[in-house]
Amino acid sequence: MRMDTLQFKNRIIILSDKLFRLAKSILQNEDEAWDAVQDLNLKLWEKRIQLNEIENIPAFAMRSMRNLCLDVLRQRRNNDHIGTDIEYQELNPYQQTERNDMVTKIQLLIDRLPELQRTIMRMRDVEGMEISEISYITQITENAVSVNLSRARQKVREQLITEHSRVEERIWRT
């Protein structure tokens, strides 16, 4: 049986929000994430006949989305020798005052984790996915997923606690 437009809409287009969030987390750019989702939709539409053989279409789409985004990151690195994918680092004082809002600050903390860690953390904590699904999407073992997940959460926790006590201290002093 061939996948028709209605089926395609119900099985692929319906995933757009999730795919967009994943692309946005990896690429850290909304416009590029938007383009990436469009590109993926086109690619999947072209391969719609093969899609019927796939058991877990949402996981397959997420995996394809991540691979496509990683290609974009690779291209970006080739074009620009200064890497735009910022890895984990301390915030400088300027950024600290600029992003005083805790929620924004935490988003920034997650964004600064290495790609694999932030992707895994968001798939688990934002999308609520099973470790087995994340393992399939990221193409690493379930054990490696758990290790990366715990590393990501630990790093965020450390910064969160430091940040929290800093804010508390300031409140008490004034």
Binding site: I13, Q38, M102, S150, R153
Partner: protein, 169 residues
Amino acid sequence: MENINELLNKYFSGTSTLEEEKILKKYFTSEKLTTEHQAYKPLFDVFDLEAKVTYPPANQKLTNKKRFHLRTFLYTSSGVAAAILLTFWLFGSPAMQSDYAIVNGTRINDNEIAQQMAQEKINKVETMLQGKLTPLESLQTVKNRLEPAKRIFEIKNDILDIKHKLNFE
């Protein structure tokens, strides 16, 4: 509360189940938090907030695309305007009968020389403009060609909606 601490420890060591994480999320997004747990609230707020991010429709995005169009338009239009001004400057108004040129303030009446000089200038400008405009033109062509491809899904959705509505009625 001990239960929450236990769950938090499991959470940070990456061993909590989805069910346990649901309990944590529910607890931390509620208002009744102990002081020791306040520090973790923003983290769970972030998850809640990020889960609400939706895929923006085409008309809400790409502000830089508009800027691109404006810039191209300015480059192209200034090029065209320069070319028109130059033509009038070299040939005088079209109403004039004979061709002449003014070079360094002296009028040259000899048709052939004037035309030759004008032709030279035009060629020079043409090559200059071509060099500058070609990359912009090809960029625009690529963008234009991609445009319909991006629309496919919007159109498809529209068609589906219509089909859907037709089926229902």
